[in-house]
């Protein structure tokens, strides 16, 4: 975007023609499935829920007021914030640990790396099916393990205290290996001389990791963080298998609730308001990246 328009008028017209022409098919689809839907969502969030007998009418910010007055909204929002607050840092920390190990000189490194990354290749639905096994009350693997410590059977997915945490475990399992990959690439880009220099300076292993490696991994951490934040809104497939948002909304996340409102309760107005709020939140994440973090990520 730094380059100026061509001086020559013929060339300038040609650039205009080709530029817009080549973009037309993509812009058409983006308009149909991104720009227009965004505006339509905003628009319909100002209309009441229509029924067969009462058509929907414009009611300003009434829907927003209703949603904010709904205790379920605050519960689901709280769930999603907790979900993000736990899965994002835990999977980033695990990813970092995995990458350090998968990069260390240990026997069977390739196998270890494969084991870490494999969950990433599974559909969330399949991951949920695998984990159902662990969570089966009384019979699942998890209860076999807790029984060793004298803890009785637990209905991991069926009680409000544990349902969301069980869902989070699956997310962390699925995501860490993916984020590991980016750390691994960054680690391999660190010149080995640095470690040699640190060793000569008498820096121990911990000092080297904390003072040299971690700062060098900062850009990767920012990239992973942004992706993890987006995923904390997006990754909800496993809810369909594990808890369906229950019990009593204890494990319900926003996108799942949007799906439920729109396609199970047919409450288009409520779904639209929620979608607007999600878009606003994601816009905030985007702004965060553009304003505070590395601008070069996009304008290199």
């Amino acid at each position: 975007m730094t380059q100026a328009l061509p001086r020559n008028p013929v060339e300038r017209r040609q650039h205009m023609l080709f530029g817009w022409g080549l973009l037309t098919p993509a812009l058409l689809l983006l308009t149909l499935f991104a720009f227009y839907p965004m505006l339509a969502t905003l628009w319909s969030s100002f209309f009441s829920r229509g029924t067969a007998r009462r058509p929907s009418v414009f009611n300003g910010i009434e829907n927003y007021r209703d949603l904010l007055a709904d205790p379920t909204f605050w519960q689901v929002l709280g769930n999603n914030l907790l979900y993000a607050g736990v899965t994002v840092p835990v999977s980033i920390a695990l990813a970092l640990g995995m990458a350090l190990w998968a990069n260390a000189r240990i026997p069977g490194r390739a196998l270890v790396r494969t084991a870490f990354f494999t969950p990433t290749m599974l559909p969330m639905i399949a991951a949920a099916n695998l984990w159902l096994f662990f969570y089966t009350p009384g019979l699942g693997l998890l209860d076999h393990i807790t029984a060793l410590f004298g803890i009785g059977p637990t209905n991991w997915l069926g009680q409000p205290g544990t349902a969301l945490w069980s869902v989070m475990a699956v997310t962390i399992w699925k995501e860490s290996g993916f984020f590991m990959l980016f750390y691994l690439a960054a680690l391999q880009a660190i010149p080995p001389e640095l470690q040699e220099a640190a060793r000569i300076e008498g820096a121990g292993r911990w000092a080297y990791t904390r003072r040299v490696v971690l700062p060098l991994l900062m850009p990767t951490t920012v990239f992973v963080l942004i992706n993890a934040l987006i995923n904390s809104v997006r990754l909800i497939d496993h809810l369909f298998i594990l808890t369906k948002g229950g019990p009593d909304n204890a494990s319900k996340l926003i996108l799942y609730w949007i799906w439920e409102m729109a396609f199970a309760y047919l409450d288009q107005a409520g779904a639209a308001v929620l979608t607007v709020l999600v878009i606003a939140a994601l816009g905030l994440v985007a702004a965060l990246q553009f304003v505070f973090f590395d601008r070069r990520i996009h304008y290199r």
């Binding site: 973009l23 260390a104 559909p123 695998l130």
Partner: protein
């Protein structure tokens, strides 16, 4: 300086830690593999001496049209990939090689989609697909993903790094803009296309929410949606059969990944580090 004995100590710690975590990470998959070959009672009772059986696979296979689902998934990911390659190549080329009014604004609009993913807009996108008469069709399932901001961005970056001199040579041979794109830019960006293809296929092979919403029959449903219907507790199948079905559903991509592991990992890195 670290003494050799402390180095050995750390090596043992590292190795056992890494192996322990790796074992934990792969355990769900190994356990499902074991359960799929045993009766549900034996699996839940953790009876390690129970006999191996294939019955779970037979029952799971007969309970749903898996081949049809697999076929649908293949069609879905192929359609998306063809669409993405075409649209993102054209758009990436426009952003990389042409100077025109409104370009910065358009680019910012495209990048917006990196954050507002199609999943978020399920309600309006569903309405749009229905309006276009594409509900429950492979095209309806794939259209929202074709103009991928990620792909446009990736190919723009790739095209921008290609030296202009290559282009001059093709021009002397009489190539127009499309000739240059096809003969110079596309071949030079081949590794990026491969990387993008692997990431796209893996992503859409596993995609669930959008296909769930816009499909309504087993003639279009992909594997993920089929698997979710199959595993639902209401369907009354036991855990061993669910494991068998899950393994069957993930086998094609998983085997592909294990065989081409290096390429997959390279692809994710190439596509991810921008």
């Amino acid at each position: 300086m670290a003494a050799p004995s402390s180095e050995r100590f750390w090596r043992i710690i590292d190795t056992s830690g890494a192996w322990l975590l790796a074992l934990c990470w792969i355990a769900p998959l190994l356990f499902a593999l074991w359960a799929a070959f045993h009766s549900a009672n034996a699996a839940l009772a953790l009876d390690w001496r129970a006999p191996l059986i294939l019955d779970n696979f037979r029952q799971a296979w007969q309970a749903a049209p898996w081949l049809r689902y697999l076929f649908n998934t293949v069609i879905l990911v192929s359609l998306i990939l063809i669409g993405q390659f075409t649209l993102c190549t054209l758009a990436g080329f426009a952003f990389a090689r042409f100077q025109f009014r409104g370009k910065s604004l358009l680019f910012a609009l495209v990048l917006l989609q990196l954050f507002v993913l199609p999943e978020i807009l399920i309600v309006e996108n569903y309405a749009m697909v229905t309006r276009l008469g594409l509900f429950d069709t492979p095209l309806g399932m794939s259209l929202p993903y074709m103009a991928s901001a990620f792909g446009i961005f990736l190919l723009r970056q790739a095209f921008m790094q290609i030296p202009r001199e290559l282009e001059e040579a093709a021009r002397i041979e009489g190539c127009g803009w499309f000739g240059v794109l096809w003969r110079v830019y596309v071949p030079a960006a081949k590794p990026i296309y491969l990387a993008y293809a692997l990431v796209s296929v893996a992503t859409h092979w596993n995609n669930f929410l959008w296909p769930l919403i816009v499909t309504n029959s087993s003639a279009t449903r992909p594997l993920t949606v089929g698997l979710s219907l199959f595993g639902a507790p209401e369907s009354g199948v036991n855990i061993s059969i669910v494991s068998a079905a899950t393994l069957m559903a993930i086998a094609p991509l998983l085997i592909g990944f294990l065989v081409f592991q290096r390429q997959f990992i390279q692809a994710f890195l190439r596509a991810g580090i921008r």
